[in-house]
Symmetry: C2
């Protein structure tokens, strides 16, 4: 995908000079051309560039030879640590900003506009009424109750529209890639997809700002996924400071993996969860202990920074502390409601994914596609209006979740009558209504032109349903304390046995399991989030059930679904099983391949080849015998190294003996020695290898292509995109949104040889 | 390594019949010969056998085609679940047994010999003195104080000798592989090493029984590693029930990985820790989500079973509950003592490993090797005598750790004066003395002829040092409450600021980090073990420090060290970096390889080849051009399929066109078509590929060999053992104990071609 005009090829003046006498110095990493957006990186190639760089560093004499590798490591740790600190602080200030914006929808602080409600009232004694915080009706001195309500509702909705509208305008105008959660893209990027426009400073700024506005507007979205995106942007920007990452996409991706872990760590206050998320969901560490280790460090530092800024004034990482007033145990009969919640989570999660897909496809193909800001404002209006009517939906999702996770405690006051034993059915109805509303709103919101995460809404839906189940079970126990099923409860009916707050946690786990299909990382995040260590087992069982049910219903997790819809070249880490097919069925056979014949092409021939096809590279053969593979970059380099001359008839030889150490030395006037430009790490298999092995090979090595030979002769070739289409063939909406993702580039990875 | 006498080759009668008319049916999984102990399995081969089996199942008509795969899955889940339940119950009863045996050393229950002290005294009111439990001096009515002490000490030491001696005799007589922790072997087995003698029913029984005796004898050892071994034995025995695992070593290993996770889960009451241990330390899941998932399920079920049996009567999984009487926060200045503990952990951990290695090598090469039982008894006597003198060492390590993790609480009583503020220096001295004693004893004990884990002693050492550090910091704070460094403490000096119990946890983390070099799994285990969720960050930082310091001191973790000493063919999951070397430097060149020439060998030729060399397989070439690779098994199968006849001059042809679908059909009288016996998944590279890529390939695919070709011609071959010796070359004591591990087999994997 290099620019084809040789004059713009970034070769140094030195290189041009040397061409005069026919030799060119060995390829250095400086001349390594960057990939264009939309392509996939060649991991083996990047690794070998990194190896060459390390090697040349170690060859330096004296102190330099010792210092340079150390500097190298320190630069890497610098980025990891600064990203950790940065995202920790950013996450904390985002919370502060959101809290202030959200409170602004209800009123203002009389003595300082920039205080939120808690800060405004922090000076008064407990028990006193806080007069410093004024609702808007107080500010405008509206006395009549009806007008008060009307004014409050009006400001509440108007500000929601203002916030969400400005978020959408910001995103649409300045950084269109800042919309959505960002996790599907990050998964693809970590897998080798090149998408630099996704990680620019502008995207960082707009995503962070837009996220604060979007969350404060009360739309049904969370900040978790976008924070991961913000963290990756930070690491990407920092990585541009140093040549070692600027010029090596594989090394940069290792940093991004650590940054993503730090992002999750801050989003949930869950440092271990971050590492595991990177491991399980992003598949980012590919069992390389040192990369996992970086993620671990970044996560820990991010969490420490968050705790240091201490946005919630609690000096704790646990966001939604679960306080059980019953003993830290649970009883076997409780598995019945919990497993039911697991099944509900699986079913509802699948439904939410399907609904979200339908909405996304409808949005893409209808008139909505032309008015993204209007759509956001409209949905925001509906959300605000509907939420204002239902008491549980009115507050921020995070506040709702915190309250639902809280146990009823007579000393603490009752959250909207949730603990009132005489209003069981009302509460259950309201909770289910809230959940249903949030399902519909979330399915629509996730994918609009604003930054939006799916975690928090999912938790909120699950917590509502779980709490409802908890209230029902509790009332069942209260009315039949002596039933045989409750025998394991304490005999004294005044001693609580069922803890509805914990049912909300279980519900949230189940729902998250159904939507994301994560397992271990989810459990860790949940129990770091809630501190419910003694209840790890039910959470595990519940997440398992939800995942099984969801998988049985045939949908993938929400992130995989979006990746498939956008057709990113990402290989899911599933264990693909073929039905006896061999590589021959997926490879492009020899006759369909464009190859370079050894000593058969002149420089103008190569140029026309590069001009005509936009493949990532070409196999090089000599009488059908495979010599190697040359990437487009190297070809462009060769072409650019010689002055354009249509009559240059010297043929390029790739089989000269001096091989990989020196590059482009012409032995005589008839051939140009290009043997050094061949890829040094070429993997070739036989075409009767089982498909499973080929897929596995692509997955484990993140390959861009495999060549197939038989007794040395080239028989075919398979590329990453062949494998991706093989693995996503079962999904009905594959590529439904792909052009949207990268309009101009999309062709580049589907038309590889 | 097949028996070379063709008459014993396990070919079915059917196969023999068909040979008569010159054809043999396609190779079925039934005829797949088992590997012998000491070899490595061929993962690609096993995978392809599994693929063939799945394929043939799916081809079944009607209900069978649907039911068989389902049965398959159910068998797998059956083993996972039963192993989980089994190890949970076994772990629980082991605890009960150990508690009883250990209490027996102090006294007996007057009304029932088989009650332990707690059970014996459970009937009395709190506050009453328990008269039902009689010390031995009470039993024998010894009244004089001096004689009482003498009798108690005598029984204490005598029973210790009896327990440890019988454990050693049991191990030496019935199951020599039941000694040690078992984790190094399990790591090797999961990586493909074949060591069936290690997982027999006898080993299971002796390891469990011997473990109970060894732990009760008060030797400086833990039950954690051996429990993992026991769990793997269970899964292995269960897997023998079903043909699908009996005949596929790769599938069996996937089960063993889940079982190992369940073992850790039970050992520490840490279901998530189990999964992560499998992931990080055993490298068992190789980023296959479904295998990790099995580990997750097995862990969860094992933990539930343990909780159900409820050995500690607390219905909690948290073994060493940390109860902090200070608020759930920590202060920045505390990082100074904690980081110091991290450094101490790293240094002392490395020292412990080195000491252990020296002892192991000394034991191997001295007269000690001949008297393993005597050694155990002697060390047991020293341990018992020394422990009886030091108050903290006298109790079971687990009890010591539990007490050290406990905060001082005036209502709960004082554990051996640990909370006495006037005995600071005595306590610190005693704690450091205990730690030093335990370092020496552990270094000697770990490797003797008894089941022994290293986790608990390491925790105990770390907890002693940590508690000492905590006491010192606390006294420093108490004497200078207004110093600037303590400004973040509550101003009221009566409010506790430093929590020495938590310092013990930090010390344990640091020490574990230094000894095992685990990171994430260690943190998870520790906080599942202690419930100290709010202190995850300091634990993380401390483990990180200990690992860095330890790695800088140049020793590997204790398990890797033992693997290297025993020279198991195990590839550590490190990111190997070459210094510019290519595959050419590690491969055996063509001229050193024993190859089979296509149409150049008759059956008697093949037989003599198999007789002469014990390689795992041979490359097949035709005029130097690589045709494929044939395993020893397949060769033996071919030889066995034809009646022994010295004058059979028919040549084996491997290049016939009908390829892999049919096996051994003779086209005419002059050649035998063996082309179906060639390995279908052959990976070949060019010899100028960087070493790093080759090592990576071996690690990720668990290969047994890679062939190198150039333009189709065979240029060399590298085997797993070449890679293992490359990766362990830096370790000074490589293979120091290897003959001990598998005396007769050891040559088989070091002499592969």
């Amino acid at each position: 995908m290099q620019s084809l005009d040789s004059s713009t090829t970034p070769l140094t003046a030195e290189a041009f000079e040397l061409t005069e006498n026919g030799t060119i110095p060995p390829s250095t990493h400086k001349s390594h051309a960057k990939y264009e957006d939309g392509t996939s990186i060649d991991w083996l190639h990047e690794e070998s560039a990194e190896r060459a760089r390390n090697h040349s560093m170690r060859l330096q004499h004296g102190v330099r030879g010792l210092l340079l590798p150390m500097m190298d490591a320190w630069r890497m740790w610098f980025i990891v640590i600064v990203t950790g600190i940065g995202i920790g602080i950013a996450g904390a200030w985002l919370d502060v900003l959101v809290k202030w914006l959200a409170d602004l929808r209800e009123g203002r602080c009389s003595y300082g506009f920039f205080y939120n409600q808690v800060a405004c009232c922090s000076g008064i004694d407990p028990g006193d009424v806080c007069r410093e915080w004024q609702t808007w009706s107080e500010v405008f001195r509206v006395r009549q109750i009806f007008l008060q309500t009307l004014l409050q509702a009006f400001v509440y909705i108007a500000l929601a529209l203002l916030f969400s509208g400005s978020a959408a305008v910001l995103v649409e105008t300045y950084a269109p890639y800042a919309f959505h959660t960002g996790i599907p893209e990050i998964k693809a990027i970590l897998g080798g997809y090149v998408f630099d426009a996704f990680l620019t400073p502008w995207t960082l700024l707009i995503k962070a700002l837009g996220l604060a506005l979007a969350v404060a507007s009360g739309l049904s979205l969370g900040k978790e996924g976008p924070l991961v995106h913000v963290s990756c942007c930070m690491a990407n920007i920092l990585s541009q400071l140093f040549q070692q990452f600027r010029q090596n996409e594989a090394q940069k991706r290792r940093l991004l993996a650590a940054a993503a872990a730090a992002g999750v760590s801050v989003a949930f206050g869950s440092p271990l969860g971050g590492v595991l998320f990177g491991l399980e969901e992003l598949d980012a560490f590919s069992s390389e202990t040192d990369v996992m280790w970086r993620g671990f460090v970044a996560s820990a530092i991010a969490a420490v920074s968050l705790q240091w800024v201490n946005p919630f004034g609690t000096a704790k990482l646990v966001l939604f502390q679960v306080t059980t007033n019953v003993a830290d145990t649970w009883r076997a009969f409780e598995l019945i409601p919990w497993l039911t919640l697991g099944v509900i989570g699986g079913v509802l999660g699948s439904f939410l994914i399907k609904l979200n897909v339908e909405v996304a496809i409808y949005r893409r193909n209808s008139i909505l596609a032309q008015f993204p800001v209007l759509e956001v404002v409209a949905v925001s209006a509906i959300t605000a209006a509907a939420s204002y009517l239902i008491v549980f939906a009115r507050v921020q999702s995070s506040e709702l979740v915190a309250n639902l996770f809280q146990e009823c405690d007579p000393n603490k006051g009752d959250y909207h009558g949730l603990c009132n034993p005489s209003a069981i059915w009302e509460n259950v109805f309201l909770l289910i209504l809230t959940a249903a509303l949030k399902v519909a709103l979330t399915a629509w919101t996730f994918g609009m032109m604003i930054p939006a995460g799916i975690f928090l809404p999912t938790i909120a839906i699950g917590a509502c349903l779980g709490r409802a189940m908890g209230i029902l079970t509790q009332s069942l126990h209260r009315s039949n304390p002596t039933a045989w099923i409750f025998l394991s409860c304490p005999p004294d009916p005044t001693v609580p046995c069922i803890s509805p707050g914990f049912y909300a946690v279980i519900g949230a786990s189940a729902m998250l399991g159904g939507v994301t299909r994560m397992t271990i990382s989810l459990v860790v995040i949940l129990f770091e989030l809630t501190g419910a260590l003694s209840h790890v087992l039910p959470i595990m069982v519940c997440v398992m059930t939800a995942k099984w049910v969801g998988d049985a219903l045939g949908t993938e997790g929400i992130y995989s679904t979006w990746i498939a819809m956008r057709q990113y070249p990402w290989l899911p880490p599933v264990h693909y099983k073929d039905k006896g097919e061999t590589a021959a069925q997926i490879m492009k056979p020899r006759r369909k391949l464009i190859v370079i014949e050894d000593e058969g092409c002149s420089i103008p021939d190569l140029k026309s080849l590069v001009d005509e096809y936009n493949f990532n590279g070409f196999p090089v053969i000599r009488n059908e015998e495979l010599l190697g593979y040359i990437t487009r970059d190297k070809l462009t380099e060769i072409i650019g190294a010689f002055p354009p001359d249509e009559n240059d008839t010297r043929k390029c030889s790739f089989s000269a003996s001096n091989g990989s150490t020196s590059y482009l030395t012409s032995d005589n006037d008839n051939t140009i020695d290009c043997s050094g430009s061949l890829d040094e790490t070429l993997i070739h298999l036989r075409k009767d290898v089982p498909q499973e092995v080929v897929v596995n090979m692509f997955q484990k090595f993140n390959l861009r292509h495999i060549l197939f030979t038989h007794s040395g002769e080239l028989t075919g070739m398979a590329t990453k995109s062949d494998i991706v289409s093989l693995l996503t063939s079962h999904f009905p909406h594959t590529a439904a949104l792909s052009k949207n993702a990268s309009k101009s580039r999309q062709s580049s990875f589907t038309t590889s040889p």
